[in-house]
């Protein structure tokens, strides 16, 4: 359902028309539009945004750890439409226990490395990812450094 505060934004309205169950909330703050998407629908919504709404570029994928709040993780997608000169932020909330979401590599190939980085540093699994392995840290590294419960300093005992 389209939240009331987003009714004047055409992209939000378009996503709502495409799939009314996909959009759970969002906001427009500091000139930037954020849409909250149901994690299970992320691939279809991204496909719609790319091919129908001309968001041809995926600028970045990252995550925010809200530890100890639940749902703990936010996966954040930054989309860019060159034709419309617009940027859009999508957000999916994932639980702290076994966080997993479908990969959007089938929509944008650039998601490959972006998602690997999120997997490497946050430990979020991306289902159907072609090559989900660590990218920044060594392959045998334990833990996920950008999680809030991972220490900044100290040595391994």
């Amino acid at each position: 359902m389209l939240p009331e505060n987003l009714q004047e934004y055409s992209t939000a309205a378009a996503v709502d028309r495409f799939d009314a169950d996909a959009l759970t909330g969002g906001k427009h703050a500091l000139g930037e539009l954020t849409l909250e998407i149901v994690p299970a629908k992320i691939v279809s919504v991204c496909g719609f945004l790319k091919y129908d709404q001309k968001f041809v570029r995926l600028s970045a994928v990252t995550a925010v750890d809200r530890f100890p709040a639940e749902p703990r993780f936010e996966v954040v997608y930054h989309l860019h439409s060159i034709e419309r000169n617009e940027r859009l932020r999508l957000k999916c909330r994932l639980p702290g226990q076994d966080p997993a979401i479908d990969s959007v590599t089938s929509v944008w190939r650039s998601a490959n490395w972006y998602e690997r980085e999120v997997f490497d540093l946050f430990g979020i699994q991306f289902r159907n990812h072609p090559n989900l392995k660590r990218i920044m840290m060594p392959d045998d590294w334990e833990g996920y450094p950008l999680r809030k419960d991972y220490p900044v300093t100290g040595s391994r005992v």
Partner: protein, 409 residues
């Protein structure tokens, strides 16, 4: 997830298996300490004769955890970390980060500080492009270009040193403006440099543009289609060399770029030579912007008028109790930034540089993510080099102009 390898040992195997039939292919390990990768990049290349059949970049050797480190610094302290992300364009990173935080604070930056920032960001572009041209040319074998470019780069570093005391990691921008005003005699030095610089660009072009060896090594080499580039996250001069006029300075002007008159150079050939032409033209355009900024510099304060965020002048601090208290508060605990999130994109010398800053209302950033252009660009390496000759790999990856610090953060 793949099985972890033996610690400290390279696994010289590729993700995909060797074909069972046909001639055996050779796997070549290029890097991580290869002089032409400009940092520590490892490329695993599978060769059939001299043709590349498969390529896998391996990155992460320079990962220093800057994003994690930002979460335990105050907003102002984190500026010094952003310098270290891309060590050839430190001021561009400072600028993107400061603009993002200032957007969260909804801080108005005085015109003089904005123009100065534009001027310094363009100097950074000159600096970065000169290092790129020097090293790209030396990779292909044009030794003397290196010396010419570093002559001008040295002067730029001296200009940086004069105002900030540092040659590379200047950390000169503050949230709310600039650290100091430039010292006496600085403008004269900039003017001297800018007067002579266009003729120096002509010198580089004399050495390269019509040079048959240069043309032979770069024309028609390193092609990758525009659709592939957009899909793979490539930005910056690479896209402009493929005919797409995209530049954040024009599309979404920040820091008063809309008040400057400059062109966004494009080419359509989409090869290494076209990327060279685009960057050479950008050198000229940046010099033009610096001249405009210097000649039209508005007068006024160097810092925003917000005592909660911006440090008071030394003079006031020593004479006014209130200024002293503000100084103490900002230095010891920093300033609080309202809750929210912002993604600010600027045009760095390498392409789209975005800072995603999340605030939870305290004095330290809750999360800082850097969308760095080199990371996106490097992802296109396999698509670009698969099917070409190994001798062209150096020219091709050189034309991408990546910095591994920027890739790995």
């Amino acid at each position: 997830m793949s099985e972890p390898g033996v610690p400290g040992q390279f696994t010289a195997t590729l993700e995909r298996d060797q074909p069972e039939t046909g001639p055996r292919r050779m796997i070549l390990n290029m890097g991580p300490q290869h002089p032409s990768t400009h940092g520590v990049l490892r490329l695993l290349i599978e060769l059939d004769g001299e043709t590349i059949t498969h390529c896998e970049p391996d990155i992460g050797y320079l990962h220093t955890g800057i994003e994690k480190e930002c979460e335990v610094k105050t907003y102002q302290q984190a500026v010094t970390l952003t310098d270290r992300v891309d060590y050839l364009a430190p001021l561009s990173n400072n600028l993107a980060y400061c603009l993002a935080v200032e957007k969260l604070l909804q801080l108005e930056i005085p015109p003089q500080a904005q123009w100065m920032r534009v001027m310094l960001a363009e100097f950074t572009r000159l600096n970065s492009h000169l290092v790129w041209l020097a090293t790209h040319a030396i990779d292909i074998g044009a030794m003397s270009v290196f010396l010419y470019c570093f002559r001008e780069r040295e002067e730029i570093l001296r200009i940086f040193e004069m105002f900030s005391g540092q040659r590379m990691m200047t950390s000169y921008f503050r949230i709310g403006g600039l650290a100091l005003e430039p010292p006496r005699g600085w403008y004269q030095r900039v003017k001297k440099f800018i007067d002579i610089f266009p003729s120096r660009v002509d010198e580089y072009e004399n050495l390269l543009t019509a040079n048959p060896i240069w043309i032979g090594r770069t024309k028609g080499v390193g092609f990758i289609s525009l659709e592939d580039m957009l899909d793979l996250g490539v930005t910056g001069p690479m896209l402009r060399a493929a005919g797409l006029k995209i530049d954040a300075r024009k599309d979404r002007p920040y820091s008063s770029y809309d008040k400057f008159d400059f062109e966004v150079p494009t080419r359509t050939a989409n090869d290494v030579y076209a990327r060279y032409q685009v960057r050479i033209e950008e050198l000229r355009q940046s010099a033009k912007i610096i001249r405009q900024a210097m000649e039209g510099m508005p007068s006024g304060p160097w810092k925003a008028d917000d005592p909660h965020v911006v440090l008071p002048d030394r003079e006031k601090m020593k004479t006014q109790m209130e200024a002293l208290i503000y100084h103490f508060k900002i230095v010891t605990e920093g300033f609080r930034v309202p809750e929210g999130e912002v993604y600010h994109v600027i045009e760095s010398p390498r392409g789209e540089l975005g800072y995603y800053v999340v605030s939870d209302g305290t004095a330290t950033p809750y999360r800082v993510h850097m969308r760095t252009p080199s990371f996106g660009n490097l992802q296109a390496v396999p698509t670009m080099v698969e099917g070409i000759l190994i001798a062209d790999v150096i020219a091709s990856i050189g034309s991408m102009d990546f910095v591994l610090g920027d890739t790995d953060r």
